[in-house]
Each structure stands twice: as C-alpha cells, then as structure tokens.
Symmetry: D2
Subunit: 357 residues, 4 copies
C-alpha cells in the first residue's frame, strides 16, 4: 500500500532516521520540462527549521532525481527522487515508550520488534517530503491543463481566516498563497494565529487547525460515479497525510442544517458556458467535476509531540508509566501541512485528468 494512483503513480519509501527517503513517480508524460529550482522551492517551503513555529531540526531536503529525467525533461519512464537524511539525533528516541497520539503502539502491533521506531520511522511527518516532491512534479505537469491549486490556513485554535470565494476564486491569490510560509488570506488573522501558536509553544503544548484548499480550472467531466468519485480520490489521498482527521467538500458538514432549496446549485449559461450560481457542492456532482472550483477543508489535529509529561505505557514491560518527549517538535504543523495538502491535491487531480485523456 505504498503506491497511490492509476495513471500518475506515486510510491513512497523511507524512515525518519534511515539513510534516505524518496518517491518513485510513474506515468509522468514524457517531454515535460521540469524546473528543478521550482521543486527546490516547494521542498524548502515544507522544510522545518526556519523559525520558532517549527521544529529546529535542519533538513536539507534536496531531491536528487536519479532516473526518468534527462536534460531538464522527463523521459516518460519512472522518476525516482531521493532525499538523504541528515541531522538525525536517534538517541532522543526510546522504542519501548508509546508516545500518546503517535503511531508507536500501532506500529508495534503491526510490525513487531523489528519496526524502525527512531523518529517515528516510516510514520514520521518527514515522509511527507516525498509527497511534496511528487506534488511539485505534478504541479508542473498540470500547468498545461491550466489547473491552479492553493491552500490557506482557515483556522488555528479559535482564529479564523477569510474563507475562499467558492464561485469566483481568485487565481492570482491562490498563486500568492503558495509562496507564503504561513499562507493566509487575511494578514491580521494570520498574525493572531501566530500568537496562538506561540502561546502553545511557550506552554510546551501544540495546537490544531483547519486548512482550506481550492482547485481551479478543472475541466468538467473528470471523475466517476461511486468508487472513483472526486471526493473518494481526494479523501483517500488527504487521509494519507499524518494528522489529518477530517475532510469536507463545499458546505460539507454545514449541509446538515440546510434545505435542498438552499443546497442545490442552480445551473445557468453565460457566454456559452455552463456555470452554477452558488457552489455549495464544491464543483462536484455525482462524483464528477462540473467545472466550478473544487473547494475542500481539512481538519489537522494538534502535533502529537508535546513537551509536557504524559501518562503512557512501557510496551516491553507492559506497565503504566510516564513519558516526557525530548527532541525537537512543532508547536503547530498546520502551516507546514498546507504545502503537503497542495501537493497531495496536485497528485490527485493529475492522476484523474490523465485518466480521462
């Protein structure tokens, strides 16, 4: 299950403290020009260690593409991108203590004593770096389909950003968001969010949030009824991102309090184009795109690693104990997850678009 996709396949591998992590991408159309500087820029954006809001671990995160790429163009055969691991302090980790909110215990049950527990092993958020690499490739392929993707922090703690305009989403604003380390639409809300995160950091705690992602320019007719619905494909990818615990499309859970007469998006024709006046359904009817923006929200739980002492268990001695997690941690991963969500969205829609070709 380390591979996702039908036409644009992404296989990921690696552990937080192993020799290297990476991804193999299959199905990249041959002859696609790839800007390695763009990939580097995307990797840097996800990369921690840039400020107090993120772990101070310095990850080089330089992707070395070892196959499928010659003279700045893809060859059409599998691309393998490798990221070497550095700056690892494995001694910070004790395998027998199960960190609450982490996959320590479930990894122990599934993989047994031979699992790599150092730094969370294969379960580490670090393994989202290969996803960002895959997304950076997908984004460049998507350019020729005029698809634009952007993600902003919709909520941290009790602070809310301005939501996207679901009917006339601003493409330029999306592109701007993708350049920000802390992507928000309303600068003031962003400032308050940072304060909220800083408060968590000072109390050795962490905080969760909600991300909102918009995919604009999708052609109508992409997706399938039932198992291949746009919602099924996007959600299966989004829940691959560690810490994601919810997803809603368009009005999502808000539909519960709506009437059909409000919820239905009425169609109209303007300049020969079919549009909807509202976009409560997030550009998706019956699992298939209708050409309006796809907008969804992602719930991100607070970082599991916190500095406070917690109750837990020693799995080897099978006894209750306390645990205090040392090492470097993010008081909030919502802003870093934004770049992963955009990458994951790019991977998903590229796979679906190539499937329609």
């Amino acid at each position: 299950m380390n591979t996702w996709g039908e036409r644009f396949k992404v296989s990921i591998f690696g552990e937080s403290h192993g020799k290297a992590i990476g991804a193999v991408l299959d199905g990249v159309p041959s002859g696609t020009e790839l800007d390695e500087e763009y990939i580097k820029m995307r990797m840097d954006r996800r990369r921690p260690g840039k400020n107090l809001m993120s772990t101070t671990r310095v990850e080089g995160d330089r992707v070395k593409i070892v196959s499928g790429f010659v003279n700045g163009k893809t060859t059409g055969t599998p691309m393998c991108g490798i990221i070497e691991n550095r700056d690892m302090r494995s001694k910070d980790y004790q395998g027998e203590l199960m960190r609450p909110g982490h996959a320590d215990y479930t990894a122990y049950v599934k993989y047994g004593e031979s699992r790599d527990f150092r730094g969370g092993g294969h379960f580490s958020g670090r393994i989202t770096a290969p996803l960002v690499f895959a997304g950076a490739v997908a984004e460049q392929v998507l350019k020729k389909y005029s698809v634009t993707i952007g993600t902003h922090i919709y909520r941290v703690g009790d602070v809310y950003d301005t939501p996207f305009d679901s009917v006339s989403t601003d493409i330029n604003a999306l592109n701007d968001l993708e350049k920000m380390d802390f992507p928000v639409i309303c600068a003031e809300a962003g400032e308050k969010m940072r304060e909220e995160i800083d408060r968590s950091r000072l109390s050795a705690d962490s905080v969760g949030g909600i991300l909102e992602c918009a995919i604009c320019g999708m052609p109508a007719g992409v997706g399938s009824p039932f198992f291949g619905s746009v919602e099924s494909r996007l959600s299966s990818m989004m829940f691959s991102i560690p810490a994601v615990k919810g997803i809603e499309f368009g009005r999502g859970f808000g539909f519960a309090g709506m009437y059909g007469s409000e919820a239905n998006d009425e169609f109209y024709i303007e300049n020969g184009q079919v549009k909807t006046r509202t976009n409560n359904n997030a550009g998706i009817n019956g699992g298939i795109t209708n050409g309006m923006p796809i907008i969804f929200r992602i719930a991100v739980k607070p970082t599991a690693s916190i500095g406070q002492t917690q109750n837990s268990i020693d799995i080897e001695r099978m006894e209750n104990t306390e645990i205090k997690i040392h090492g470097r941690h993010d008081p909030c991963i919502v802003h870093r997850a934004a770049s992963v969500v955009s990458a994951a969205a790019a991977i998903t829609v590229l796979d679906m678009i190539l499937g329609e070709a």
Copy 2:
C-alpha cells in the same frame, strides 16, 4: 472504477431504470454460512416506500444470488447478486433538463448523449442497494471476527441525537440501532427529527443531516501508514455513497480548537490490555487501528430532488430555463443512508481484516 477492494472486492452495476442492478463480490471466504433472510432484512431496511418520509416508489429489492453460493454456504468463487428493477416510471424524466444538485450535467459531459438519464441512471441512489447487499454479506463474514457496526442519525436540521460514547461504546445498543428504520439513540430527538423532515416534505423541500457510525471489536494493527490508512480506506468508500459530502474521524474538525495535551489519547494497561483513556483519535493512530472503537461522522446533503420550481438549463438548446421535478422523492435520505453507511463500513473493514490475515 466500478470495483472497490483488495481482498474483498465489490463490483457494482446497474441503472435506476435498467433491467437489473447488482454486485459481484470476490474474495468471500469459502464455507461461510449466509442467512438469506438476514440479507433480505438488510435490503428491506434500505428500501423506500415504507412511509411518508421516503419516496413512495415500491422497490422489491429481492437479491437473487446466481453464483458462488451453494446449499447455504459460499463456495469461495465470485458471488453475483442481482436485483431486478420494477415499478419504473421512466416518462417522469426528461433528459435535456439538468436537475440542480444532481449528476445530470456531469453525466452529460462525461458520457454524452448515450448516457442513461432515466431516474438518474447509474448515478441513482438506487445503486446503493447492491452496496447494502455486499454489506449484508460482509457483516455475516465479520461475525467470526467479533466486529460490530452501528450507525445512528446524529443530526437532522438543527436537531441532534446523543453522540456515541467513544470509549465504552455499547455493543447491544449498536445492534439495536441496526434494526431501526429511523435509528437514533435518544427517542425524543428522533421524534423532533421526524417533525423536521415532515416540515420539509410539506414545503416541497428536503433536509440534510449527519450520521455517526461506530465500528467496535476491531483488532489492533489493521491498516497501513499513508495510502492504506484506515481513514483513507473508509473515506474512499464513504464518498462513494451519493450525497455524502464530509467525513470526520473522532474529534475531526473539533481538533482545530484543541491543544495537543487534550487531543492525545493516553495509553494505559488494564488487565493486560492496552487501552486509551480518551478516544479522540477514533481508534486510529498513524492510519492503523489501536483496538479502540472507530467512530466517524458523515455529512449528508439534502436530497437534490425537491418539488419546488428551480432555475436550470436545457443542455440541448443551451438556454436557461426552469425545471419542476415530478416523480417520487425523499424529503430526507439521511435515515435511509444509515443502512448504506453501515454496509459500506462492513465492506471496508472486512477488506482490511482479510488483508491482514
């Protein structure tokens, strides 16, 4: 994309007004005793036409199992279940008018003029009947794994039911819910929900809601990190159900306002068993079950078919027009969707459990 699953594969087919609908199930362990009466009971529960809260269309929905099943036991080879269509009033449907909130337009773009638009064709909620059949088989296989699944209506309009107790979910209560046509934990809340639905019916409108599903008895260690996470698998299946627009696991979107110190579920050992004191993460860490109940919520949008006149378009003449939908419709599908959600959950966890074997 009409097939879902790795080990327990479900393929569905059929259109609302075609000759028959059905499903092929592959991977059912041989020698499993199946009670056809149980299957009939599950089909009846989803079936409409029983009261004013549902469409008055009478669907026989008798499943004829034509393969893979001999003398009350499965043979281990593919099981095909067929449900004949009856009581179809195809003249109620006009293909050129795009019903808001439905897949008419997206089906037109994807499949063109040859699509079967009668009654929504392959996009009809009727195609969930084969899913319920598949689920009824899965539920019976799951018995030997001691897995229990139950779904209740958590919300309709502004009326809320009592939520599940996520730590000590009552298995008997789950089984009781699965026998109810209108499954709620609090009878009084159920009464108010019915009133809300009746109000919608009288105003030729419809109403949405939220379902809450609990899966108890899952062994720890099921699932995979990343693409094969329990959340990825369940969500990809749940979004296959028409009208589903959101899913959240455990605290879901509520995590946004929580601190890590609150969100983390602390482990403890009791009688040699590993448990968590809270269950905010819905029994899933790093995509893998930890043995606690899996609890998730599903947002269901209001039925798209309403009796009011709506603005829309004529896709053949490419002009704006009005549409008034005749035919028989549900003022609310949330309660009927409950049986589909339970079935879909059974299909998913069976596939995952067989994958671990």
Copy 3:
C-alpha cells in the same frame, strides 16, 4: 482475482451448474453501437453441441445485458451480461473423486468442502462463455481502431495447418477464419485434423493442439517496458483460459536455434511508413508494438475429461481408487478454444489501446 484490466475491466462469475454465469464490463466507451446479433453469433460459435467433435450438452448461451446498454448503444457505465444455465445434469458428478487433469483436487485444497464441484464449478470451461461475451463487445469497440483479430488451428495431433504470413497477414482471411466453426487456413489440413479428433473420440480419448492468433492493425507505441509489456498482458490473459499451457510470440521457442543476425527484424521505410522486413519479434520490441502484426501461438492440452477408466483418489476416504468419467465431453477443445483466444486477444488489446489514449 476475478477482474482483469486497467481501462477495459472484465469481471467474470459463475459456475457450470449454478443459476447463471456472466461478466461485468467496465470502461466501455459510451455511445458505442453494439450489434446484439453479432454477440449472439460469437456466443454460438463457442457453444458446444453442434456436432460430434464437441460435447452434446446444449447450452443456450443467450446473453442478457442488464445494464450499461440502452437503445443499442453503451452508456459508459458498467455493462453486466448474464447467461442462464440450463440442461445441467449435476448427478453425473461425484465430488469426492478427483478427476485427473482437472482442478478438482486443487479446488478442494483451496476452497474446501464448500466448493461447487458440479461440472467443474467455477473452473469449468463453460466460464469462458462470459469471456467470449466480453470479447464480442471489445471487438466491436476495436472496429474504430481498425484492429482485426483472427485465430486458426495451427496443429492438432501431428497435423499442421499453414502458418500465418507474419509480414503481410491477410485481413480478409482473418475475418473469414472468425466465421468458421473449425478455423483453418488449409482445408485439407482441417480435414485431417477432424479425422484425428474423430479417432480420439472413438477410443474414448482426447487430443491437444496449438492455436495461432494474429492481431493486425495495431498502432505502434502501445504497451510498456517490463511489467506492462504486450507479451505480459497477452500472456496473463491467455493463461486465464483453462487448458492453455504455453504461449510464444513470433519465432518464440524457435529463437533458441537462431543467430541474432537472423532474428533481428531490420527496419525500413516505405511510403513514409516504418516497417520491418521480417517479423520474428511478432510486432513487439521492448514490450511495445511497432506496428507490424502481433502473432502468437497457444498450446492447448488435451481435454482432461476422457471416457477411459483412470487411476485416481477418493479425497474423503483418502484412498486410491479408479474413476470413470460419465457425462458429455469434448474429444478436442482446440477448435472451440479458438473463439475464446480471439475474444481474449480483443479484450487485451482494447484495454491496452484505451490505456494509451
């Protein structure tokens, strides 16, 4: 594993003596006109009971298409075709005696006592009827790609037919073969083969043979290196046909006695088209079509059911015993398998062509 294909997916189900057998086809392009008479003609050709060379069981083999097909055209959603079983004499079969050459023992090991052993159950050659249905649909879709497929009996016993001309294969001759019940290029060879089969019948024995299939009109560039090679795809499908035990492409096993200077097919350009002077590689280089005819041979073992007494075992008593198979049997299935091989080839190349689109 009852589903094959990436873009044109075929799922088969059914047992020889169950209620019905059939196939679900997913990925049929919408709006494809299908001639049901053509399907009937293809089914009739595979059907036994027409002469002494085949079993006298009369199979109606009428396919009822219950979904995905309206007004003579495909809708683009899954097509389910169902064939009811009739004329079954289940009492001819004893489950505890393992017939040599059949799957009785392996089915017993894999599926246990609940397997359906009547008539070979799901392992019966009868389950190739749904494949022929799927092939008859694929053939009609392939028409717009100008692909022509034909299969002849290359060998029965020691009698050989004239092989295909691999460089300039005659399309009309291929079409003619597909109309013959006993498809051969040289009528005289055909006559001798029939005599050979008749001799086997009279001695209560059976005889094997070799089929040769040609696929003409394939565009260049279809297929993939390694796992998705044309040879991999075709062979995985061909070995799904019961009794097939070998496949070779082009010179196949003959390559062992050749030098590279003989084996290499030299390219040349004629009228702006790239061709090869010889076609030893069967139109495939590096797993990908080069535009020349794809020609392969299929080894078919003698029918396992013979009238002679054989040594075998009683699996319930776990003791050695003798077995004499009653019921109706084919002294040779090679000619009937020809229509299955053509169908299987059509399924495979359609899936590959749709994958390139």
Copy 4:
C-alpha cells in the same frame, strides 16, 4: 506499469546510463533477517564483465538499501534498494539510428524525442539488476516456506542440457545450479554450449536459447482460477524480462501431440500425501498449485546487439541507412538471464504465497 504484485510489490526504476537504477519493495514481512552478502552474491552472478561470454562493461552493482531495513532485519515498511551507475560510455550511442531487435523505435514512438536512448535507457537489460535484488530478498523470505528455485540452461543453439526430472526434482541440484555462472545439469552439454557461444562471438553474432526453471516445495492450493492462475502470474512476470519470447508449463507445446490419456497426471496417495505419478501439468491444475514441482521453460531470443552491419533507418531524417553497433555486447544472454528468471520466479511465488496467508 512499473509496479508488479499484490502483496509483495516490486517497483523498478532507472536507465542504463542514468544516475542510478533500483527497486522499491513493499510488503516484505517485518522481522525478516536478510543477509546482505547473499544479495551481493546474487547481484554478482547476474553482473556482466566476468568473461568473454558477456559484455566487458564492468558494473559495480552494489545495492544500497536506504529504507525498510535496520540492524539486519526488515522493518515491514517499503525497502528501497539503489544501484549507482558507473562505467558508462554514452558516446557509443546515437539516438537517431534504430537498432534492429531493440526497443529504439518503439520507445521513440511512445516517448518521443525526450526518451533516454543512451544504452537502451529504461529498456536496457541492465534494469533486470533491480529485479535480481528483489528476487534475492524474496528468496530469503521464501526460505521459511521451504520453497526452492533453480534454473538451468536447457538449450543454446542446437545443444540441449538434460531436462529436470519433473516428478522427483533434486532440491540439492537446484541449489547447486544457483551457484553456477553457467548453470547446466550436464557439464558436457555446458561445454558445447560455451563453444557455440564462442563461435557466435567470433562471427560478431549472437545466439538464443531456452531456460528451464523449477520451483519445488510449493504448498498445494496457491493461485486462482482464471485471471489469477499460477501460469498467468508467472508468465506476466517472465515476459517482463527483456528478450523473453515464449513460456511453456510442463509439457507445454508438446501437449499438442499427446492424448488425454497420456497428458492427465493421475493422482495417488502415498504416506497420506496426494501426489501425481507424472507431472505433465507442471504442478498446476485449474491455475492452482497441486503440490508437485512447477516446471516451465522460457524462450530467450539472441542478443539484439551484434557487431555486424545491419540495414535500418534514421528516424530523424526518415531514411533508410545502415547501422554498425559499437560498444560492448553479450554474444549470449541466456546464462545471465538464468539468474533473472530465478529471481523473477521468487518474486512471483512469494507474492502468491503471501496472498494465501
């Protein structure tokens, strides 16, 4: 299509003259001890440059395992093995000249001008090195299932080795074969084969052959009817190996001249075990193993690269021309392919065995 397998998944990547080649293995059971020296030995065996019968290119072929492997044991998460490319003389290759028998032309059609043509790119036989790595891992996992695999050169030119005894295959002899650089059962036949190869080398030509592989110790009941047959799975993998053009199981094409009474393998019970007296069906009935050895033969065409001048085309100028291939080439790849066939067999049966668990 760079990924193969259901439970033990192998993804390969790389080009002959790129930075690196490799494979990602998913589904390796956690806690499996892997001997890296064994992997090195297997890689060395496939490696060319050891004598005059192979190309003199020196490939280091040292596999660096960067993930999924800690302290000599697998962790259960994806294993990525990377092999750096060295000693590349890319200037030997001209992209516009289509080498007969190679994938140059088909790669040009499929991937266009951006393909990597240096040294055959992704189509190079060098990409079988990652397969051998995957096989070396699979072989070590298979040890606990007591499965033994061996391959010998059955034929080169007109020289034949002694075939395997299909009923009582000698396990020790299989193990011995796997240690030989030129694996034959009869040393004298091997000497004559070497002479044949040497003759080809001196005349700047190449020669083909046949490999015979035996898989012993397979439990009965592995595989599936139809699409998941043992023959389907093995053949789809074997035809992934460049230069393979045919496969036959057991008597294979020889069945054409046999009667059913000869071809059927009669069952008998000995010491409570079910066996067959002959093994014409290669241990497979109805696509499922019966516990007898699986024996199959593989046709390998002569190396496409030969030193003689050949007619061909210049694809850029679209004109007929001559080509003389420089660089280093194998006069025969049959003996080197033996290690690839054993590796490919190990990958396939491990995937099937894990699928039954």
